[in-house]
Symmetry: none
Subunit: 190 residues, 4 copies
DNA sequence: AATGAATGAGGATTCATTCAT
DNA sequence: GATGAATGAATCCTCATTCAT
């Protein structure tokens, strides 16, 4: 099986397995062995490629974040008016894999991880700042207090995530979440 | 001085130690020994009183929830108009010990715990339902869509908590959080 | 079985087991489990009492060193003439448990350990300095160049140890070793 | 430029890397990967050439021993009187690469290895016997008890090695070591 | 009531070794 | 000949939990 180029494949598989295992189990207390097994490799290989469990977790965070960033950029590129840009940002938060139950769950766990791990905290703050800054920028032509509205909207989005993570079962409903945020924004913009 | 009552004292000390240790460390990965040491007792006693680590965690959750509930009831009792009741509920979320950094951190961790532990999930849902129902009730005379506004406000509150938990340092600012929620509510009520 | 005062007993048993296991196996590559089993306890207990494998090793070194020191002090206390003191120091090196095969073997391994572990190195240097200083002191009235002779004698003693550690089997012969060192010393003292 | 000979080159590089890595780290706990990296090849190649880690270690021992033997033979060939032969043997022990810190350190570690590995023990005993036999031969015309003096001198040499291995830093001083042994020998020969 | 003593189970990590290419 | 890929086996260490006193 040894084949050049295996590394990128394995790393991807391990990162995805990490997200899905954390999500499935709803906790960071997943073992490297579980993750490795789910990726179809040995736990030793996970260490070989990532060095440590923490590094694997960070790689998983980066993957979620970059996935989100990519979606957001694509959506923004297609939007021409400020209002469209605003909606694009909101939609990006709940679209694609972002609102998949296991991803949301992993995401919540990374929030907790950030309280201990400086590296994780740094990643999270970059994401937080970017989303607020994107929102502020889009809101500037649309309301008096763009920063305040952006911060409220960002908190609202995070709150919907967390509520979703402990929701009373039922399938994820991205449309409802998007509608709730847009309703708020419609109320405070012209 | 009856020896009776010692048990209640010890249990309280252990529950408080649990919250503060989880908060201080920012993670559920605290050991029973740490908690017990912080409470000045042996880890064996913690098991003697609570049976298991999970049960101790649940007791800590209940303590936070009941503290919050007590504060909310007191505030509601003193409020006479719907608008005052609304503000009372919002303020209760950020007042007293509720917004103390270690309590917020512990709280966030319990959210994560709820993804694994059905008992924790149950507790959390009760709290979530109660707050939405309180808000809805207060909002009924004040706006067209009380349920929707209540759900949005509740999510906003949770989002402010989570953002606070990974905030860029700085002391907690309950007034700012309250103001942010009230600004939203002021915009959607008459 | 839990009984107060167990700790000292267990620590002693573990330290002795450490020495004998290292000696038996002739290598520092003994597992904590092996040592613990040989001491009749669980490996967890070894960590409970000593913190880490390295600390257990250091405790074993200290034990050998203090055993040696005690024997040397006793012998010196009974000696009245310089010549008697000289012989006492030499004899102390090969008497008691010091020349037991497993102890010698452990001792050699600690020499190697000292190349990596600063703490072990410190212990060893203290021993080395003390023995040279004792020898020098005893030699002062007996020869022209006490320091030089002391250093040579100390090296000779170490050399006999190391040769003994890889000896062609056969029982340890402390008398022969003592005689060899004394023959050297007799030749350079009046 | 024949490709033939590549193997010998690689094997030499690996053997030297083994010695220098063991010496640098002061412990047999070097990994095959470290050694291979230091030799600029893959760890798989080390196994390909030597079969196992132990075999690589043995090859490194043999290399040190043969290096020493070569130096000793050259020195002996140039010596004409018994006294000169005696000095030649002593000097051989501390000359050339033999007293280089990493080689001494590796050497000490091989002494320890000999306590476990029969093959290593065999190598060491051959060396020990040869040095004693060389010394005895040179001493025969010079003193009454050549065997005894040879054994003492050999032990003294080993002791100087071991003391050097844990010396208080400072550069190796072969001249001082040679002088110390010669001083002893001068005292017991005519 | 309270604890020191003790452990079984489990997890991260390391590493020699193998193998297909 | 040479290596990247991969792993099984081991080892240190942690921790919740139990129990005799």
């Amino acid at each position: 099986m040894p084949k050049i180029g295996m590394m990128a494949l394995r790393k991807d598989a391990l990162v995805n397995a990490t997200i899905s295992e954390i999500g499935r189990q709803g906790s960071l207390d997943v073992t490297v062995s579980q993750i490795a097994r789910s990726a179809g490799v040995s736990s030793a290989l996970a260490h070989h490629y990532f060095g440590s469990k923490d590094d694997l977790f960070l790689a998983a965070m980066r993957s979620i974040l970059s996935e989100f960033g990519k979606g957001a950029r694509e959506r923004l590129a297609k939007s021409e008016t400020p209002a469209a840009r605003l909606r694009a940002i909101v939609e990006a938060n709940f679209a694609g894999t972002n609102f998949r139950p296991d991803v949301v769950s992993a995401w919540m766990n990374f929030y907790v991880m950030a309280q201990k791990s400086p590296a994780a905290q740094r990643l999270l703050r970059i994401y937080q700042r970017r989303i607020v800054s994107n929102l502020t920028h889009a809101l500037r032509p649309l309301c008096q207090n763009p920063e305040g509205v952006a911060l409220t909207a960002a908190a609202l989005i995070d709150g919907l995530y967390i509520r979703h993570a402990v929701a009373e079962a039922g399938p994820p409903d991205p449309q409802a979440a998007i509608a709730r945020v847009m309703t708020y924004l419609d109320g405070v913009t012209q």
